[in-house]
């Protein structure tokens, strides 16, 4: 049993729902207790879709448990097929149904429906949402792509599939638009986009592409590997995230498409579509240099964001982690490159602790990190699922491609204190309006209640390794003159410095000794 304040992923059947809802003609019959229909809201409210998700739930209750829940499942599957006439039926269990062991696959087969029935084995007590989505997509691709009778001829045209976008994906809607535009500009045609917007017929056409573009490895890697084996379709390793990432992606797909004698190059395309590189180079962005950032989210977005943070924005990354165990190795390697230890966890409390310890000036994370950021009074931008309704915006807001890079620049910089204000706060601490502990004034509506609490807690005596360290009043007053967003780090640095020197009191001088010692 595990204490879970917030969960980064839903159960695996929600992943399966994301695939079913993304597609056009697939229906999902889910053996689940009354109440599990809450998941419909994720799609109708958070993503604001106009149709009910194509999911029929058995919604059994306690009184059904004494009776024949298997019969209940069969009748639900039968009536769902008759009402919705899908071209494929997914069947499976939610966590509670998994405990009563009714075998939806076998039961659905017994009904004898005229369309393929795909039983989903999604272990709800071991696996999670992304795994469920990946597995479901893989099963669908396997079922339908392998129905191709004749061996496909070698594709010579530069044509690709885009794999990975789903319902309830972080900016998937706009990412595929942006990447399709980019591919078309490069002279590459898009054959099938799946699962988002695809039908079963489209899955049968997957082999007509020369290669695959995987945008979300968490969802589509296993399918892409299978397609590579089955049809010899290679797929990309780089992701079009950030200006540099997109450049690499452009170079890679041109190669995959075997477009060699072209006059398009990544550099040229970039100049046409990207502003973020110039914005970041302009003097206004000077103060962004070495801003301390903590990054957390799904593996893909974290890896990509780290690169952008360091190479494109000039931040310094002080912490990095992911909840995607599937990408743990990659994230670990990337962290080691920067001399960090990756935090691989799905425990919100671990993430909170790591952020508290590193005291960053900016958190790039998920909806859950926004809770931590609020508590600690740190600026935060969302870069990855899980997200809430505000991250399904009406406006065009891709994360990928060159326009995506532009969006990243605006949304990551926004929560930070603007340059002039930061300078003035450093110089004048006593202003009645622009206080040292205030939120950036361009975010004037946001309160700073979290910060007040934290300040009160600063008058405490710190215990480290049995040594008590006391802040002298004068030093403590001086500490308060340090701007809020770096004060937490300064406090920690001073304490660890004092501790390493065996001091038991922190004087004004210790504070400045520590500052010199930890100088950037």
């Amino acid at each position: 049993m595990k204490l879970t304040v917030w969960t980064y992923e839903g159960p695996p059947h929600v992943g399966a729902m994301r695939i079913a809802t993304a597609m056009k003609d697939v229906h999902y019959v889910l053996h689940a207790p009354q109440g599990d229909t809450y998941a419909d809201l994720l799609f109708t409210m958070i993503e604001r879709l106009k149709d009910r998700p194509p999911v029929t739930y058995t919604t059994f209750q306690a009184r059904d448990l004494g009776g024949d829940t298997a019969e209940l499942f069969k009748s639900a599957a039968k009536s769902a097929f008759e009402r919705f006439k899908p071209n494929a039926l997914l069947v499976g269990s939610s966590c509670t149904a998994e405990l009563i062991q009714d075998d939806p696959g076998g039961l659905a087969e017994a009904i004898g429906l005229p369309v393929p029935v795909i039983p989903l084995e999604l272990p709800a007590y071991q696996k999670k949402e992304n795994w469920g989505a990946s597995e479901t997509f893989y099963q669908l691709v396997r079922t339908f792509a392998s129905q191709v009778e004749e061996k496909p001829e070698k594709v010579t045209k530069p044509i690709c599939n885009i794999l990975g976008p789903t319902a309830l994906g972080f900016r998937h809607r706009d990412d595929i638009e942006e990447i399709t535009k980019l591919l078309n500009f490069l002279g590459i045609e898009v054959n099938v986009i799946a699962p988002l917007g695809a039908s079963v017929l489209d899955l049968k056409k997957l082999n007509a592409a020369k290669f695959n573009v995987v945008l979300y490895p968490e969802i589509a890697n296993s399918s892409a590997l299978w397609l590579q084996k089955k049809f010899g379709q290679p797929f990309n390793k780089s992701l079009p995230y950030g200006a540099i990432g997109t450049n690499e992606f452009v170079t890679e797909v041109l190669k995959l498409a075997e477009i060699s004698n072209s006059d398009v190059t990544a550099e040229k395309v970039s100049k046409l579509f990207n502003r973020s590189a110039w914005y970041s180079s302009s003097v206004d962005s000077n103060y962004l240099t070495n801003k301390r950032v903590f990054i957390f989210g799904d593996g893909t977005h974290v890896l990509a964001a780290k690169k952008v943070a360091i190479k494109e924005f000039g931040f310094s990354v002080v912490g990095i982690g992911t909840y995607s165990r599937e990408l743990a190795r990659e994230v670990r390697a990337s962290a080691e490159e920067s001399g960090l230890k990756a935090l691989i966890t799905d425990d919100y409390l671990d993430v909170e602790k790591a952020i508290e310890e590193t005291q960053p000036e900016l958190i790039l994370g998920t909806q859950m990190e926004r809770h931590i950021a609020k508590r600690l009074g740190i600026g935060c931008a969302v870069i990855s699922a899980p997200m809430h309704v505000q991250d399904f915006p009406s406006r065009y807001s891709p994360q990928m491609g060159y326009e995506g890079a532009n969006v990243l620049f605006d949304s990551w910089i926004h929560p930070l204190m603007m340059g002039l204000e930061e300078h003035l706060l450093n110089m004048f601490r006593e202003d009645f309006e622009f206080k040292g502990d205030a939120t950036p004034s361009h975010l004037s509506h946001e309160s700073s209640s979290g910060k007040v609490e934290k300040d009160n807690a600063e008058n405490t005596v710190l215990k480290t390794d049995g040594n008590e360290i006391v802040w002298e009043k004068e030093a403590e007053e001086e500490l308060k003159k340090i701007p809020f967003f770096v004060r937490g780090k300064a406090k920690r640095n001073t304490e660890s410095f004092a501790n390493s020197q065996g001091f038991t009191r922190i004087s004004l001088e210790t504070l400045y000794d520590a500052k010199a010692y930890h100088a950037r």
Partner: protein, 446 residues
């Protein structure tokens, strides 16, 4: 081929002092598009400020609560989930020891908690984890600092607001018992917005009832006492189990309509007053300014709602009293009033006020109900969020039902607001006419 399906008509007779009527209640069984009782945590954690709700369940349960409440950014949420994993299922780990560990971790983090609810879920009930036993054990360990209680919010046992019923029921045995209560005491039962508690307090005093208390209280240390001279009024229609438990403890239920709209609120106060021997003429005189003011406020929505037809999907058990209000005070036509569960004893007075032509339904088969609904072309549909946007996209106007549980709607001074909640979607549709909601033009982009 027809789906197996237990739909049958059930005749129920409801009696009241004016007339005796017979209503056909359609009982349906099939897919239910409703919340489970865990959702109650979303408002209960705000009401009882020193309580913490620990769900013992699966990742699905955790996901449900954060999807519902996680749009708010919490510095310190007062709910969490102990997620059962395969070690617990395989019996490799003693589930009780595991739970104790989680609770100790939680209480270390939140020393300010005074009351901890262990909330049962579908998985914990299917594997028969005895949470009431666990609560007793943990009480022994943590009392007097922390009281640990248990209730079930599982989907297999409870629908949406029944979670509050289960929670309050678990609190009843904790209420201080008094053997010889000298003065009659009134309990007002059901979660109410703070502002409404304050209004009701003033009105009870005005009509001459001084000795009253609200249940649940705002802090857990403030549980009202109960004895043989305690009478209680239900402020919410979904408290069947709590009422039963209060009766077991010696309290007496006062039958009344629910305090929605002018008619319901008046009957509610009058029923209490009668129990306390206050004359109707005094009640009438004291409440007259309030009834007048409320009528005036309700009438503001009359032009939008009068003559319009409405269809209720089942959600919270508030449907019947609200339908009664909309029919009697706003002249709406009730097409179907669906409710997840009908507790006859508490809803009788309400049912008798609803016209016989109205189809009342209990339970749900959502696809069939959707067909009935769209075929009857209602002007307004009250439904959950899983159905609301899809129906809007088809051109229907909807009122999402959950809002009715999250808004102050009880009593005279909220009657106008309550009417406005139903008028608002129609008003909005009028205002956005040029956008042509529901047309193809809005239908394309997603």
């Amino acid at each position: 081929m027809a789906i197996k399906f237990d739909s049958f008509e059930n005749k129920s007779t409801t009696n009241n002092d004016k007339n005796s009527i017979t209503k056909h209640i359609l009982k349906e069984k099939g897919q239910r598009e409703v919340f489970c009782g865990l959702t109650g945590i979303v408002w209960l954690h705000r009401k009882i400020q020193d309580a913490f709700f620990l769900v013992v369940g699966s990742r699905t349960c955790a996901h449900l609560i954060q999807s519902a409440a996680g749009v708010m950014i919490f510095a310190e949420p007062r709910f969490a989930t102990a997620i059962i994993d395969d070690k617990d299922l395989a019996g490799l780990a003693d589930a009780n020891e595991e739970l104790d560990k989680v609770v100790s971790q939680l209480l270390d983090r939140r020393p300010d908690i005074k009351l901890l609810f262990l909330v049962g879920s579908c998985p914990s009930e299917v594997i028969k984890l005895d949470l009431s036993n666990a609560a007793d054990r943990l009480c022994k360990k943590y009392l007097p600092e922390v009281k640990v209680l248990n209730y079930s919010g599982s989907g297999i046992e409870t629908t949406f607001t029944q979670g509050e019923d289960a929670c309050l029921r678990s609190l009843v045995p904790e209420m201080p018992k008094v053997d010889n209560q000298l003065y009659k005491k009134l309990l007002i039962v059901g979660t109410l917005a703070d502002v409404i508690e304050d209004q009701f307090s003033r009105l009870f005093k005005k009509i001459g009832i001084e000795n009253f208390a609200f249940f649940p209280p705002r802090v857990s240390s403030n549980l009202p006492e109960i004895g043989s001279n305690t009478v209680f009024l239900l402020a919410q229609p979904f408290l069947a189990e709590t009422a039963l438990e209060l009766e077991k403890a010696g309290a007496k239920h006062i039958p009344a309509m629910f305090p929605f709209g002018v008619e319901g609120s008046y009957d509610w106060f009058l029923s209490a007053a009668t129990e306390f021997g206050v004359s109707e003429s005094k009640v009438k005189a004291q409440l007259e300014p309030y009834t007048n003011r409320a009528k005036h406020a309700v009438d503001k929505s009359l032009s939008l709602l009068k003559g319009k037809s409405i269809f209720f999907f089942p959600d919270s058990q508030l449907e019947i009293p609200l339908a009664r209000f909309l029919q009697n005070e706003l002249g709406m036509e009730l097409l179907e009033v669906g409710t997840p569960y009908i507790h006859k004893k508490h809803i009788d007075k309400e049912l008798s006020k609803i016209s016989n032509s109205t189809q009342i339904s209990e339970g749900q088969d959502v696809e069939k109900q959707l067909d009935r609904c769209t075929n009857s072309k209602p002007d307004l549909i009250v439904c959950g969020l899983g159905l609301a946007n899809p129906l809007e996209a088809q051109g229907f106007t909807t009122k999402w039902a959950i809002e009715l549980v999250f808004s102050p709607i009880h009593g005279f001074d909220q009657a106008g607001d309550l009417a406005e909640l139903f008028a608002r979607p129609l008003n909005r549709r009028d205002k956005l006419q040029e956008l042509n909601p529901g047309s193809q033009f809005v239908g394309d982009m997603q």
